[in-house]
Symmetry: C2
Subunit: 378 residues, 2 copies
DNA sequence: TTGTAGGCGTTATCAG
DNA sequence: CTGATAACGCCTACAA
C-alpha cells in the first residue's frame, strides 16, 4: 500500500473492477456518473496516477510525437548554444529559501538573440503549436550518439520529425520501417518518408535578382560552408544564376574550418587587400552576422563599401547594425507541416517532398533599410 | 513476422535468448562482442526498434522529464499564440513534389517577436538545454483540461516542471505524491515541492528607484492585471515603495477584462483627458508594448510625455519604438534550475524556494536609451 | 556469458 | 454497465 498505487488498489477501494477504473479515465461517458465519482475519489485518496508506459504498452502506441535534433555543438560551430552551467545550486537557508544573484553579465550572455531563437527554434515552435492543436504530447530529444539516441526516441513516439545532423542513414532507415518519419531540411535520398524543405534555389534567385537589378552589383562573394546540403544548394543556385546573368563566378569564402576564435580569415584577407567584391552573399544569417562583425572591426562600411545578405530570417537579423537583408524561410510553417504530416499519416499514402517558398526581406545591409515604422511590421 | 518485431523475433533469428538481446542494448559490456554483433545484425535485418513503453514499464521509470504549460489562450488573452492553421496541405504532383507558396503576409504574421519568444519560451529553452546536458528526453505538454492533462503527462515522466496556469491544486497535490515537481513562478502554498521564482519585489524596487532618482517622477500609474500572483506581487511592491517614498499611491489601470479588440480603455480615458501620470509602470512587457502602441495612436510621446516600463525582458522590447525599459528575469536560468532540481532530486532532500534576482534594463521608453552600439550588447 | 520465467500496470475482449 | 482474464514487450533475478 505504501508503494505506488495501481488500478487494483483503486478498484478495491472504490468497490469496482479494474476495467471500470480504466474506463473512468479513458472513456468517462461509458461509466455511470456516481461510479465515476467514487473511482475518482478513491484515486484521489490513495494518490493514484495512471502510468503511461503501461497504457501505451497495452494500446500499442504512445500518442506522442517526437522532434529529434542532433548535438547543437555540431550544428553551430562556435555558436552560443553550448549548454553552459548556470550558477551552482545555492543551499537554501533554514526557512527553505535560497536567493540567487548573478555575476554581472550572466543574464546578458544567457539572453542573446544571436543564440536564440535560431532556425531550429522557430521550426520547433511550429511543431509544438501543431501538436497542441492535435492534443498530442511532444517528445523533444537531442543526441550525440547518432545511433542509440535516435532509436531511443523513436521507441517513445508514434511519429518522428528529424532535423539535419550527423545521423547514419542506416539508423533512419531502421526507424522509418516502424514509424512515420518526416525529414526537415534534409536531402537524403531513398528513405521511405516525407520531406519538408525550403526552395533554396528560389531564395537565392531572389537575392541575386535584387542585387543585380536594384543595386547593379557586378561582383559577388559567397560566404559560408559548402558541406551542408542546404548550403550547397544555395551556393549552386547563386553560381548558376551569376553565370546566367553573365557576371563573374562568385568568389567562395568558406568558413567551415573556422570553428572558433577569429573566423572568416578569407574575408579579412580580401578586405585588407582591398579586393572585396561588391556584395557578400552569405549561406546563413549566422554567417552573415559574423561577417558584419568582422567588417565593422575592419572599418569596412556596410552597405557603403560592400553589400551583405543572409539566409534564414532569424530575429537577430533585425537587431544587427545595419539590419540584415535576408531570405526568410517559413520556419514555423515548416514545423507545422511536419507535425501535420505525422498526425494525418496514413499507411498507404505515398510519400512526398514539400518544398516551401522562402521570401526576400530587403533591409539595411544592402541599403534597403525599411522605413522607421517598419520596425513593427517588418 | 510482418508485425512489429520484438525481442523474441530478434532472439530467435540471432540464435540467442531474449535476455541476451536485452543486455545487448542496455548493458553491452556484459555480452560477448560477436554475440552482440549477431544480435544487432538480426535486429537490423528485421527492423527491430525497442519499445520504450515496455522498457519503462518493466523498469518502473521513464527517464524523461516533463514541462507542462496550460492552454496558451488563457495565458495571453488576445495574444498572438492562437494556433492558427497554415495553408492547406497541397497534393503532391506525380513526381511526389508539392510546392507551397504563401499568401502575402503569412510568414510575417508567423514570425512576430510579439508572439515569440515570450517568457515561457526562454524558460523552456533553459529547461531543454539542461535536459540535453543530463541526457534526458523532454516531454512538452500543454492542456486545456487542467485535471486530465496534467495527470496524463505526469504519468509519462520522472519529474515535472509546471508553469503558471489554471490547474487545480488537487491535481498538483496528487501528482506531487508520485513524482518530484517544480513550480515555476507559482506561489501555491503548501505543496510538497521545490519552487523557482523571481524576486518580483526587488525588480519593482529597481524600477521605482530608477524613476524616482533618475527621472524625478512624482506620479505613477500601474498597468496590468492583478489576478495573477506574479503581477499582484509586482503591484504590491510598487504600492508600498511609493508609500515609502512619500509619493501618491499608483493609479491602477487594470486591463484584465480587455481580452480583445481595444484593450487598455482606462489608459485611453486618462490620456484623452490629460490626466496621465508621469510614468506608467507595467506588470509585463506584453502589456507595456500594448501601452506603447495605444499611446502612439493617441499621439502621446514616450518618453517625452510619459515614461513607460515593462517587466520580463523579452526580445520584443528591443524591437519596439522606443525600445522598452524593463526588468529582465533570468528566464533561461530559471528553466535550467528547474531541470536541475528534477535531475538531482533525492527523495529525502527538503523542499526549497529558489528566488532569483531580476535586473533593471533602462532603455528608450524612460529616456535612457542605450548608445547606438549597445544594440549588440544591450 | 547465457537461458528461463515471473512480473511491471493497463487495456481489450467477452461474458454476464 | 461491470467483472474476469489474457495479452502488450521488456527487464531481471536466479539458475545453469
Amino acid at each position: 500500500m505504501s508503494k505506488r498505487p495501481t488500478v487494483y488498489d483503486v478498484a478495491r477501494l472504490a468497490g469496482v473492477s479494474t476495467a471500470t477504473v480504466s474506463f473512468t479515465y479513458s472513456k468517462p461517458e461509458r461509466v455511470r456518473p456516481d461510479t465515476r465519482a467514487q473511482v475518482l475519489a478513491a484515486a484521489d485518496q490513495i494518490g493514484y496516477v495512471p502510468r503511461a508506459s503501461a497504457r501505451d504498452l497495452a494500446r500499442g502506441r504512445t500518442g506522442a510525437l517526437g522532434l529529434h535534433a542532433f548535438d547543437f555543438l555540431l550544428e553551430t560551430p562556435g555558436g552560443g548554444r553550448t549548454p553552459s552551467l548556470g550558477p551552482d545550486l545555492v543551499t537554501p537557508d533554514a526557512s527553505g529559501v535560497a536567493r540567487i544573484a548573478w555575476e554581472d553579465g550572466y543574464d546578458d550572455r544567457m539572453s542573446d538573440p544571436r543564440a536564440f531563437p535560431l532556425y531550429v527554434d522557430e521550426v520547433q515552435r511550429g511543431f509544438e503549436l501543431e501538436c497542441w492543436r492535435a492534443g498530442r504530447a511532444l517528445l523533444l530529444s537531442s543526441g550525440t550518439d547518432p545511433r542509440i539516441d535516435l532509436t531511443e526516441s523513436a521507441g517513445r513516439v508514434d511519429g518522428l520529425a528529424v532535423f539535419p545532423g550527423d545521423v547514419s542513414l542506416a539508423a533512419l532507415e531502421q526507424v522509418a520501417r516502424r514509424i512515420p518519419i518526416v525529414l526537415l531540411s534534409r536531402h537524403d535520398e531513398g528513405l521511405p518518408c516525407n520531406r519538408v524543405l525550403v526552395d533554396n534555389a528560389s531564395g537565392m534567385r531572389q537575392v541575386l535578382e535584387h542585387l543585380l537589378v536594384e543595386h547593379r552589383t557586378r561582383s559577388i562573394g559567397y560566404v559560408g560552408s559548402l558541406a551542408v546540403a542546404d548550403f550547397a544548394e544555395r551556393f549552386e543556385a547563386l553560381r548558376s544564376g551569376a553565370e546566367r546573368a553573365g557576371i563573374a563566378a562568385p568568389v567562395v569564402l568558406d568558413d567551415s574550418d573556422a570553428s572558433d576564435g577569429r573566423p572568416l580569415s578569407m574575408l579579412i584577407d580580401l578586405a585588407s587587400t582591398g579586393r572585396l567584391p561588391e556584395a557578400l552573399v552569405c549561406g546563413s544569417d549566422q554567417v552573415a552576422l559574423q561577417a558584419l562583425d568582422t567588417l565593422a572591426e575592419l572599418g569596412v562600411d556596410v552597405p557603403g563599401d560592400v553589400l551583405v545578405t543572409g539566409f534564414d530570417g532569424v530575429l537577430a537579423g533585425r537587431l544587427s547594425n545595419p539590419t540584415l537583408t535576408t531570405v526568410r524561410q517559413p520556419m514555423e510553417a515548416m514545423g507545422r507541416l511536419a507535425a501535420r504530416l505525422l498526425v494525418d499519416h496514413s499507411a498507404d499514402a505515398p510519400f512526398a517532398t514539400y518544398r516551401l517558398e522562402p521570401r526576400l526581406l530587403p533591409r539595411g545591409s544592402c541599403g534597403c533599410g525599411a522605413p522607421a515604422r517598419a520596425l513593427r511590421r517588418d
